[in-house]
């Protein structure tokens, strides 16, 4: 009686061994490291040698320089301070075409790595880093689309010489006003043909005739979805330019984007860069009209009033020659003549053609560069959050067109080389399709992360030790069995977390601690049952059998209900709550395995199949 068949014992043993192997990578320490990435191709052996030489020159002790499978190079250090000095050395050594990022990498022996095993993925609260939650202003995306449509309709009507009074949009509806009905009907036909996305209706009001256009809900969704995807792409480009290893950029829900940068340490720079909308526009200066008139409120048709950075007013032509969207690449540098910071840009085909045509026609006339930035803020008005958009436009440089220019040229007038760098980066990364706002930020410094790990593991160990001592004293041999499976349970949790690469956070550690407390419950239930059976006069073997049998359904019921709570937590929770739910969920499943099957197997090995006079319980 009370013997598991051999296959069952072997199966349990196999699962536990499998868990041990999976948990193994967590035993190796994490090295501070720097990852080097080539913008195109692989980091060659020659580059690695050059890095090694540079480190030696700078007297930075390096643990190892490795070639990674993904074509990148990894430089390992023994101390974080070496890592930072190493970063400074790389800044000087590596030229254009390389990016490098601080990271941590477990120093796994070759055979562990060959098995493709990974340690647990630590959350930002444990390893340090920056987490931001970004809200995409979807309404603005739709408004921008409406603006594009009104512009296109205006052009269409003008090209077809249909006279209209006004084109505009109000409360999500495009309105085109006409004086006469036949004109309106002709226009409606034309617009319907050209803009199939719009739902076109007609009407009249106060003697005027209108064509209305609205965006059907499906189209609006499409626009919003596109804006979100485009923003994710742009943010990814921007983050990659920052040089952070393993950045996470993902969509959350309908309108949010999560950006997580492990190990990053400059939240101010990150936030500026993520939220920045800086772009450029090139316009001709209106020299025919008086600036003073415009200042007095009489802005001439086809012109607009701008200010330079020093506050000087200037009149610019309304028509834009080239916008930031048409810039395909940009690099920061210094102007060779003046030595001031500049950005050199390259235009796409259409932009280059426009630029050539306009500059050819206007040689000798001044052209202005407008620097545009917009931000979204949330204000509380009467207790309700209200979004507000602020757009600033400044003229950063005005220069006479000396000769026609085309695809590549320079723009100066920037305040600092920092600003030039940021602008170049933003132009390269592409514009945001809709304004964004950072609605949540959690930054954890690296030392606090380490403190959290230390405190977390210490509390797990001490809690575990207390429970282990109690169980051994109270249930003796059976208690020791429960203790053993409890430790196996911890290993299994670590194994599953490593296998799934689920993120372990501080609340996640709390979840593990809680499972430790609750995992013994299954064994307590079983052992109390066995004691009861003994009291009722059953033989030791029969008591063991009945104890495990009768407790089973109770254990399953009790655990299923906790699983329900864990699932609800996971689906409703964000960030910290999710981390807790994940480990709770995993912990319940592994504890059922270890506490029911694992402990039974051990008890069977100890007591099964022989005559037992009394149980040490």
């Amino acid at each position: 009686m009370n013997q598991y068949p051999l296959w069952k014992n072997l199966l349990i043993l196999a699962v536990i061994l499998f868990g041990l192997v999976l948990a193994l990578p967590n035993l190796f320490p994490q090295d501070p490291a720097i990852e080097v990435k080539a913008e195109s191709g692989e980091v060659s052996a020659a580059t690695r040698a050059a890095i090694a030489a540079a480190m030696e020159n700078a007297a930075v002790p390096v643990k190892a320089i490795e070639a990674r499978e993904n074509g990148r190079a990894l430089i390992r250090f023994t101390k974080p301070s070496d890592q930072l000095r190493g970063q400074a050395t790389l800044d000087r050594t590596l030229g254009e075409g390389f990016q490098h990022a601080l990271t941590q990498s477990p120093d796994l022996p070759g055979w562990v790595e060959a098995l493709g095993l990974q340690p647990m993925f630590l959350g930002l609260d444990l390893r340090g880093g920056i987490h931001v939650l970004i809200d995409v202003d979807m309404e603005a995306a739709v408004t921008q689309a409406l603006e594009r449509y009104t512009g296109d309709i205006r052009t269409l009507l003008r090209n077809d010489r249909i006279r209209y009074l006004t084109v505009g949009h109000e409360e999500g509806r495009i309105q085109v006003r006409f004086r006469e009905e036949p004109l309106r009907d002709e226009a409606a036909k034309l617009i319907r043909r050209e803009f199939r996305d719009l739902e076109i209706t007609t009407g009249s009001q106060a003697g005027d005739y209108y064509v209305y256009g609205i965006l059907p809900p499906a189209k609006q969704e499409e626009i919003k979805d596109f804006a979100l995807q485009q923003n994710i792409t742009t943010l990814r480009n921007r983050v990659n330019a920052l040089g952070v290893a393993e950045p996470i950029i993902q969509r959350q829900g309908e309108r949010r984007i999560i950006v997580q940068l492990p190990g990053a340490q400059d939240p101010a720079r990150l936030k500026d860069l993520l939220g920045a909308t800086a772009t450029l526009e090139y316009r001709l200066v209106d020299t025919e009209h008086s600036v003073q008139d415009a200042l007095d409120g009489r802005v001439p048709v086809g012109a607009a009033l701008y200010y330079e950075r020093n506050g000087q007013p200037i009149l610019l032509k309304r028509r834009v020659i080239v916008t930031g969207d048409q810039i395909t690449s940009a690099a920061a540098g210094f102007d060779q003549q003046s030595g001031s910071p500049m950005v050199s840009v390259s235009l796409d085909g259409q932009g280059a053609r426009q630029m050539r045509r306009v500059t050819t026609e206007n040689v000798g006339k001044p052209m202005a560069v407008v620097f545009i930035e917009s931000r979204t803020l949330t204000r509380i008005v009467d207790g309700e959050p209200v979004k507000e958009r602020v757009r600033s436009e400044e003229v950063i440089s005005v220069a006479n067109i000396l000769e026609p220019f085309g695809r590549r040229f320079q723009t100066t007038g920037l305040d600092s080389s920092e600003e030039a760098h940021t602008l170049a980066l933003l132009l390269r990364a592409g514009a945001l399709a809709a304004p964004i706002e950072i609605v949540e930020e959690r930054t954890i410094g690296p030392s606090l992360g380490q403190d959290n790990i230390d405190q977390g593991f210490r509390s797990v160990l001490i809690g575990l030790a207390l429970v282990v001592i109690f169980m051994a004293l109270y249930y003796r041999i059976f208690g020791l069995v429960a203790d053993l499976v409890l430790v196996v349970n911890l290993v299994m949790i670590v194994a599953v977390l490593s296998l799934l690469q689920a993120t372990l956070t501080m609340p996640g550690i709390a979840g593990i601690v809680l499972t430790v407390g609750m995992a013994v419950d299954a064994n307590v239930l079983i052992f109390e049952r066995i004691r009861e059976e003994i009291r009722n006069g059953s033989t030791p073997q029969a008591s063991i059998h009945a104890g495990y049998d009768k407790a089973l359904s109770t254990i399953v019921d009790a655990n299923v209900t906790t699983l329900i709570a864990a699932i609800v937590l996971f689906s409703f929770g964000t960030g910290p709550v999710k981390g807790f739910a994940v480990t709770l969920f995993i912990g319940i499943l592994t504890s059922m395995f270890t506490a029911i099957l694992g402990s039974r197997a051990l008890i069977n090995l100890i007591y099964g199949g022989r005559r037992v006079k009394r149980l040490a319980i």
Binding site: V132, D135, P267, A268, K271, L377, T378, R379, I380, P385, E437, I438, V439, E440, E441, R442, T443, I444, G445, L448, N452, G456, R458, S459, I462, G463, L466, F470, M471, Y474, R476, A510, V513, L514, G517, M518, V520, D521, V524, L525, E528, R531, S553, T554, D557, A558, N559, T561, T562, I564, A565, V568, L569, F572, T574, P576, V577, F580, L584, I617
Partner: protein, 315 residues
Amino acid sequence: MAHAQILKESNIDFLGQRRIAAMVSGGLMVICLLSILFRGFNFGLDFTGGTVIELGYEQPVEVTEITATLANEGIIDATVQYFGSNRDILIRIAPQEGEEASAKLSDRVFQLLSANAETAIELRRVEFVGPQVGEELREQGGLAVLFALIGILIYVALRFEWRFAVGAVAALMHDVLFTLGMFSIFYIPFDLTVLAAVLAVIGYSLNDTIVIFDRIRENFRKMRKGTVIEISNRSVNQTLSRTIITSGTTLLVLLALYFLGGEAIAGFSLALIIGVLVGTYSTIYIATAAAVWLGVSRTDLLPPEKEGKVVDNRP
């Protein structure tokens, strides 16, 4: 048998005290509810929005100096306090209006204080939650508790019987209300991790309740004699030592977490400690009493066809 035992076979008339228990619990619930309604919670940053900044100085600093520096720059709603030692500073800033409501505020504060400090300051932690996110989290939190309760109600009703389900949920609501009430009465900071703990309390307390219900069902099937009250009492007593041991081991671990786990999860552990204590009480006094009061009877729990034989308990 010479084994260590916390309880000898007990035979306490728990259900006999159900009226006193109901009055005590009822009174407590009213107090908790009143406090939650009128006093409210000391909601943490997660729910109100705002900014928290934790800084590490190399030398001891004065809180008043930092407050003054911030006030000079118009940041007046800031609470500055020591966090662990007189070199560690925690600054809480309530949600601001307009420009200052953005995530940029923390950068400004850090720059300002760095410029005013003689040595470098370490930015240990920044948490910023925008006002709309705080509101969403409050809503989601309430929904999560509600859905957890509904899910459990359904599971217990399917697995046992509706009276047990109502009894279990009554005990759960009792525990949730009591835990929330303590946080309200003592005005303990209530953040997201506390909410997670409240949900864990639901899971834990239910765990306890299920164990007793399981035993009641088993005893109804096994014991031919005895009134509902007698059998219920018997079941509570039979599972009593298990209830106490499990609560005890869980509490051991939670106390380790509370005292050693650091500030970040102190609120979490406290909520669970309260929850485990009240959960143990409610399991014994509320859940069973509610089921009995609703008129649960032997026939409700007998397996429909296979009479006499103790069947496997799976549905």
